[in-house]
């Protein structure tokens, strides 16, 4: 009981911290008034800061007409009210980062034929840290969405597949059950990171890049990660399900039989609930582990939470060399696993009216 209270308090604290962050990021009065500039048709593009003072955004779209890499120049009129304004800038396609600082005479190099969308965020410096916050958290949120997505897809795929594998490993047809057990041993006995690397890189390495089923896109990385996670977690789940199914005493089945119940009635009305009660604690363990294991998808450069946070250590969205976004990613994981802990605690409590 005491343990549950501590878990509850810590989770609440973590959620509260995250809430405060969100509040700072989204609700503090900070004016990102936006101005749209025209699309430049030539290599020189002049971005104009409008004259209404600080807190301005210059949003520009630029399409390269030249086949060769060209210099690209940004000029901005100086605004008297914010002469040394901090300047953050990022490109939507993520291919370039631009140094922050004064907007004047920034030169960007772009690849031939590439389409470029430029978003510049100009402010007067006094709210620079806050703008940083906004940028970092919107980037982390994007990563977290990918993390959540991988988590959900893994659960949706691994639970049914795990059931199938558990039936396979319990099969009375010995060759099948041995085969399944060997597969489970291989998958559980080798690192998930290794499985991710093999599943993602092997098709392209063996059959050539043109036959790489995953492609080079983020969606391909996600698909490869999802396949690896589903297989890996299905094997872990299968052992939990097997334990749950075999853990129900044979007497329960027989009691149903002598009362004249059919096989499906015995399964759904007698044993299923007892299995569920048995598998909830080990499943909650695995699922909370899965929350954190999604970060392993970083190894194939899937753009999940850790990837998003780590990018700021080098350079991302015009922000360079900061470590704190990594700590912020930790808060996401803590909050998420805290919520799951509370959820599973609730489920266990709901099932505590009977003992198995």
């Amino acid at each position: 009981m005491k343990k549950k209270v501590i878990i509850g308090v810590v989770s609440a604290a973590v959620i509260a911290v995250l809430g405060v962050f969100s509040f700072i990021v989204y609700f503090l009065p900070y004016d990102f008034s936006q101005t749209e500039a025209s699309t430049a048709a030539c290599d020189e593009y002049t971005a104009q800061a409008s004259s209404d003072g600080s807190g301005e955004v210059i949003l520009a779209e630029y399409e390269s007409k030249n086949k060769e890499s060209k210099g690209f120049q940004l000029n901005a009129k100086e605004d008297k009210s914010s002469p040394n304004g901090a300047f953050f800038m990022w490109m939507i396609d993520g291919s370039y980062d631009i140094l922050g600082g004064n907007i004047n005479n920034k030169v960007i190099r772009i690849a031939p034929k590439s389409d470029l969308k430029i978003m510049a965020l100009f402010n007067d410096g006094s709210n620079a840290a806050l703008a940083n916050f906004k940028i970092v958290f919107s980037s982390l949120n994007e990563g977290f969405v990918q993390t959540l997505y991988l988590f959900a897809v893994t659960l949706l795929g691994a639970i049914p597949l795990g059931l199938i594998i558990s039936f396979g490993s319990m099969s009375r047809f010995k060759p099948l059950s041995y085969f399944v057990r060997v597969i489970v041993w291989i998958v559980r006995g080798s690192p998930l990171m290794l499985q991710l690397l093999i599943i993602f890189y092997m098709p392209g390495m063996l059959f050539g890049p043109e036959n790489n089923i995953w492609g080079g896109e983020e969606s391909g990385r996600f698909a490869a990660a999802a396949v690896a996670f589903i297989i890996n977690y299905a094997c872990y789940f299968s052992e939990i399900f097997r334990g749950g199914i075999q853990g129900v005493p044979v007497g329960q089945h027989e009691a149903g039989q002598v009362l004249g119940l059919s096989k499906s009635q015995i399964f759904f009305k007698v044993t299923l609930m007892q299995m569920i009660k048995r598998i909830v604690p080990p499943m909650s363990n695995e699922i909370i582990t899965l929350v954190k294991d999604t970060s392993l998808a970083r190894i194939i450069a899937m753009q999940e939470l850790i990837w998003a946070g780590q990018a700021f250590m080098k350079s991302s969205h015009g922000i360079h060399g900061i470590i704190w976004p990594l700590f912020a990613t930790g808060i996401y994981y803590l909050a998420f696993s805290g919520i799951l802990t509370l959820l599973f605690g609730w489920v266990e409590k709901k099932l505590s009216y009977f003992k198995v």
Binding site: P249, G260, F354
Partner: protein, 247 residues
């Protein structure tokens, strides 16, 4: 006509012969006690009657109808099994109540699933049964909240709810301490007084003596001695003598 005839039941587990040819008959309303040391095949016999095991040879005849014939070289179908099992009720040594259901739901589950009447009929029958085993105040409790003796009484009510023709008890008090044994035996005794046809596998000699019309002593897979309860006072075979002396 006997309600139950058992003819030449033999059963092997691998190379171990557990039942080596069991014959007996049971009249309607009769209480038969089966005694004998552990491993003598008593439980296996009950399990064969309830179609939880299948005899290798022999016949089981209920009301003149052959429900199982070891000579017929096929397993009964699932539907036949379910029909056959309904002739019998079985109370297990370790109760086997469904832990996720309340006392009332344990008793009503099978009649409800097998549509043995309207919901109201099933519930009122169940209430009567639960009251008859003395647990009226526990109907909404769960098995984990009951003592062993109470659980076994619920198990008896649950078996009775399917209105079996023959109720079998597989050492119903072996998992209970002496204090709780009495309350279960009292319930079985009251059923005997109502002329319920019963087969009781038990180690409670004085209970077997008091409650049963007939006693079978099994030893090493055969019926070594059978007769009225008087055989307990005056055993004829040496094996029964030595078995009784061990108490």
């Amino acid at each position: 006509m006997a309600i139950l005839e058992v003819k030449g039941i033999k059963k092997n587990f691998g190379k171990t012969e557990v039942l080596k040819g069991i014959d007996f008959t049971l009249e309607k309303g009769e209480v038969l006690s089966i005694i004998g040391s552990s491993g003598s095949g008593k439980t296996t016999l009950l399990r064969c009657l309830n179609s939880l095991e299948f005899a290798d040879w022999g016949q089981i005849i209920v009301n003149g109808e052959v429900i199982y014939d070891g000579e017929v070289n096929r397993r009964p179908t699932e539907a036949e099994l379910r029909k056959n099992r309904l002739h019998f009720g079985l109370v297990f040594q370790n109760f086997n109540l469904f832990p996720q259901y309340s006392v009332l739901d344990n008793v009503t589950l099978a009649p409800r699933l097998l549509k043995k009447g309207t919901a109201e009929e099933i519930e009122s029958t169940a209430m009567e049964l639960i009251e008859s085993v003395g647990l009226k105040d526990k109907i909404y409790n769960y098995p984990c909240e009951l003592s062993g003796g109470q659980q076994q009484r619920v198990a008896i009510a649950r078996a009775l709810a399917m209105k079996p023709e023959i109720l079998c008890f597989d050492e119903p008090t072996s998992a209970l301490d002496p204090e709780l044994t009495g309350e279960v035996l009292k319930v079985i005794k009251s059923l005997a007084d109502k002329h319920m046809t019963m087969i009781v596998v038990t180690h409670e000699m004085s209970f077997a003596h008091d409650v049963s019309e007939r006693i079978i002593f099994m030893d090493d897979g055969v019926i070594a001695e059978q007769g009225s309860p008087a055989i307990l006072d005056d055993p004829q075979s040496e094996r029964l003598q030595s078995f009784l002396n061990s108490f």
